[in-house]
């Protein structure tokens, strides 16, 4: 019995992989004519034989997503469950590197949404993705300072002032790599008090008032509400992160996963994401 289950699952996987390849192809071609909503329409057409709205989707969808997507993806997951009664979206939010490592290590996931192409490449290099990843949003850096901005931080250069405790992400994680790029673009040298292991812990140090400022994503400043104050800076434009999303090859629930990816790329999904501070791809 288990064998037959496994066999059907494998067949599903193969079918899913093929459909996903189609989907990502169409997503790619549509991204050149730039509108997110047309992309989702295309993908609905290409998988029209099985999925789209009418045939019932069911079961769990497991989404591994970058920590910075937490707020917006949680909202989209609720939306998805409402649109498709009987489905349940489970998230695993974390550092993109860590998530990529668990996926290549065999974690049972349907969808991977990473905070950088570099971390996505870890998964595609190991042939664990079904098809080509598609960029669905972009994220920009912002300076998070204490509420009221008591140190009058107005630019990236202000962070190099002595006596100011600044926290950066470590260069090994996407937010740290982006921060380094922005600093390089401004020809600035900055010695932080700490290189944090992910963007949320960098932000936390400001929220706890242990650090005076941190370079984090705009979306994180947005999510922190009035616990921190955001300061935009022009060099951020030189260090914009693309967020790719992909269906995974060994996805246990590929049909529903495709529908979730379509939701993320739809006009509706993009509205939620830009509401959280993300930029359109």
């Amino acid at each position: 019995m288990t064998r037959s289950v496994r066999r059907t699952r494998r067949m599903l996987k193969v079918a899913g992989a093929g459909a996903a390849a189609l989907l990502s192809l169409s997503a790619c071609s549509s991204s050149s004519d730039s509108s997110g909503s047309s992309g989702s329409a295309d993908s609905a057409k290409s998988t029209g034989t099985g999925s789209s709205a009418s045939p019932k989707l069911s079961g769990d969808v497991t989404v591994f997503a970058a920590a910075s997507l937490k707020e917006s993806f949680t909202a989209l997951g609720k939306e998805f469950e409402q649109q498709h009664p009987g489905t349940k979206v489970t998230f695993n939010f974390g550092g993109s590197d860590t998530l990529a490592a668990s996926i290549t290590g065999g974690a049972p996931a349907d969808v991977f949404a990473a905070a950088s192409p570099k971390t996505m490449k870890i998964v595609t290099d190991k042939q664990d993705a079904a098809g080509t990843p598609a960029t669905f949003v972009r994220n920009q850096l912002e300076i998070a300072t204490l509420p009221g901005n008591p140190h009058k931080v107005a630019s990236l250069k202000d962070l190099t002032r002595s006596g100011l405790k600044v926290v950066l992400c470590d260069k090994t994680v996407p937010c740290g790599a982006a921060a380094q790029k922005a600093l390089d673009a401004g020809h600035l040298k900055l010695t932080p008090v700490s290189y944090e292991q992910d963007v949320k812990s960098a932000l936390n140090k400001v929220e706890l008032k242990e650090a005076d400022a941190a370079v984090v994503y705009k979306t994180d400043v947005h999510a922190a509400g009035d616990k921190v104050q955001g300061v935009e800076f022009p060099e951020a434009a030189k260090a914009i992160n693309d967020y790719p999303i992909v269906l995974l090859k060994n996805a246990p629930n590929a049909e529903a996963a495709k529908a979730f990816i379509a939701l993320v790329q739809s006009a509706e999904g993009q509205k939620v994401l830009s509401g959280a501070g993300f930029l359109q791809p």
Partner: protein, 286 residues
Amino acid sequence: MTSPLKPGAATGPRTDRPRRRRVGAGARRGVPLPLLLPGLLALAFLLLPLLALLVRTPWRTLPDQLAGTEVWQALQLSLVTATAATAVSLVLGVPLAWLLARTEFPGRGFVRALVTLPLVLPPVVGGVALLLALGRNGVVGRWLDSWFGITLPFTTAGVVIAEAFVAMPFLVISVEGTLRAADPRFEEAATTLGASRFTVFRRVTLPLIAPGIAAGAVLAWARALGEFGATITFAGNFPGRTQTMPLAVYLALQNDPDAAISLSLVLLAVSIAVLAGLRDRWMTGA
């Protein structure tokens, strides 16, 4: 159910007769199967990950991996802070253990439980608690900052504090246990001969429990050396100042697994050297 009583069943029935004649030796030599198998499994379970580390170590590039200054910075910092944390634990922990073992006060059992709480607390929680207490905006840290201009997060002192917080209970438990096992009559005799309580502690109690203190110190040192969660939460991560070996390993794992393996190997070697070198001498004596 009967096999533990018949060790011959495990090794073969042929040896049954001679065994019966020298019961003592036979019982010691024959190991009951229900104990042997799980025991060996446990051994494999504990050693396999370490063996895997050795197997997967990139021996050829190891010298290059370890030549980086950041590695030595991290190792040096780890050794210095772990030693400092052990010193702090000794200075504060031994008196605490004495109070717990030799004095009576209401709620002592509860205090003892509280003291050992960091043993079971997730280290990250310990780090958060330290931030809330000693951080720049913390309950006590706020005053340290405004009165003395001392801020502990992001400093090497912060690393020592985080490590001492996690490691000190090991020392306290070990020393308290030794104190309870030590015969109080020596101390009583010294008191009747006119020595003050502190002189008794210094001249009689301390030498008496020295092996226990040493064992506790080794445990605390090893625990401090491996501390990760509280350190990265409370002291942050800056090479040369707060980046200890475990932090360096964790961050290296993000983009260079080979480097992480090499660093882990160094930490493993240091830990084994210390535990093997000191354990036989002191732990068993305690």
